[in-house]
């Protein structure tokens, strides 16, 4: 048997690695697709704030469920959707500057999350998992939810593709065409929120942003049209997820960090070798 097959095969003998690889693959694809809108709309800071603000939801789910995964997912999802709508409302009301308002919510929620988790017994280990992901701890139940919510997000995005495209490119056009631009805007925020929750266990709160923006930014450099950008971004996300997990297996480094480092490496290489095409 050639050596490379052995390298690919060896981690597969561990069921937790198989589950981890499937999770990383799914998350890479979803984040790659949804992230295109985050990048094109200039919502990177929003994405970062969103993922950090989920922490108190995770903490409550964790404290209530005593570490069980089921309530964790539900609480994270509820918090994410709530925060997305709250930040969306602040963004549109404009009493204080948008980034300041988002920053206040982001830091406050994050602190609340840390405070809640610190009341638990295995404080530092759990906090590490929430912050940086625990892809090897993914259960079949988690995978089911990740796959299902990912499928729903991608389906909605494709179903309303032309509307989201107009909204993101020229909101005034969306309004003169009498599209429900406010509803579309909030629904996009909710889709991003769901995406973040599905990716939580893979890369964690602190590294989430990389999955949302690095593959799309890489694809942006290499493509001319949005459908191609979304497809390539999904591919880069998936490849980074899988390759990162292998790197983590062989080099013994944290999985979330390994995935993000692979994403970043691909971006840097592309940035150096792609000339700005016309």
């Amino acid at each position: 048997m050639p050596e490379w097959i052995d390298i690919v095969w060896q981690p597969m003998q561990y069921p937790f690695m198989v589950r981890g690889l499937v999770a990383a693959l799914i998350v890479g694809i979803i984040c790659g697709i949804v992230g295109c809108f985050v990048v094109l709309r200039g919502m990177a800071f929003f994405g970062d704030a969103m993922s950090h603000s989920i922490l108190p939801g995770l903490a409550i789910g964790y404290l209530i469920g005593g570490g069980a995964r089921g309530p964790l997912f539900a609480w994270a999802m509820g918090t994410a959707i709530f925060v997305a709508l709250a930040i969306g409302a602040i963004t549109r009301s404009g009493r204080i500057k948008e980034d300041t308002a988002i920053g206040i919510i982001f830091a406050g929620m994050f602190a609340l999350g840390v405070a809640l988790i610190s009341t638990g017994r295995s404080y530092s280990v759990d906090l590490m998992h929430f912050l940086f992901g625990d892809v090897l701890g993914v259960s079949w139940f988690d995978l089911l939810w990740t796959g299902l919510s990912g499928l729903i997000v991608v389906a909605i995005l494709l179903l309303f593709y032309k509307e989201y495209l107009v909204l993101s490119f020229d909101e005034t056009l969306a309004r003169t065409l009498r599209l429900p631009s406010t509803t579309l805007y909030y629904s996009l925020l909710v889709l991003i929120a769901i995406t973040i929750v599905t990716a939580l266990q893979t890369v964690g709160v602190a590294l989430m942003l990389a999955m949302l923006i690095t593959p799309p930014a890489t694809a942006f450099l290499l493509t001319r049209r949005l459908p191609a950008m979304m497809a390539l971004s999904a591919l880069i996300g998936a490849v980074s997820g899988v390759a990162g997990l292998y790197a983590s297996f062989y080099a013994g480094i944290a999985s979330g960090a390994a995935i993000v480092l692979i994403c970043t490496a691909i971006f840097v290489v592309v940035l150096m070798f792609s000339r700005r095409h016309v």
Binding site: L165, V166, F169, R175, T176, L177
Partner: protein, 284 residues
Amino acid sequence: MTVDTEHSSPPNTGTGREVPHSADAPILSVDQLTIRYGTATAIDDVSFTLQQGDHVAVIGPNGAGKSTLFKAIAGVIPTSSGTVRIGGSQPSGHICIAYLPQRSHIDWTFPVSVSDVVMMGRIGRLGWFRRPRQADRDWVQECLRLVRMDALADRPIRALSGGEQQRMFIARALAQEAELMLMDEVMTACDAPSQTEIYGILEQLKERQVTVLVSTHDLDDAAARFNQVMLLNRSLIGFGRPADVFQPDQLKQAYGGHLRLVETQAGTLILSDSCCGGGMSDDA
């Protein structure tokens, strides 16, 4: 330009979200329109009426409320008092109004081609869940041909010149089947040949009975190229033929110190120093 009649009408994809126009109502009537932002008044008691096919140059200093007026006509911002009527009913029921954005308000690195952008104009007619069909694609190509951009259909928008950007948006308005086009600073950042080209396209729009409002800083062109001029500085200072609107008193009232009027033997010479602000303060 000769138009191949077989392809020069839009596909019959239905009326989408468009409310029928009342036959005896003017295409646009604005009545005592006032728009306030907090304590600031952007548009103050403006009234006028346009008939189908009218072309009007809207002039006034930066911050005169030109963009605000256009957006109120398009029905995308709330009005404080007064009414806007399109073909007899509220703007919110119409998808026949096209607002052409100032170029500085568009992200030109957005990964879309020229025909992608023009196709966006079809979405109001298509409705939910429906993808553009061949008839829509043909119409988009025809709209691009009308603005002489058909050769650039697949070009990424980041590779367009200023004039091509504006022609693309006119094509998008045509694809939208717009009967009223609001062109915000359409000539800004266009070189002289592009401006000539766009004025040629405006002539074609006139033949098609499309009503057009163009905001501009170029008083010379406004006077020379348009039959009607609207002088705006929050309130409507003048509206009518250029010779009637370009009166020293009215211009002074609109521009204040930004305009110098010199009496010469040939008539009144107008010197302006507020050209091409790039939409700094005009877009509130």
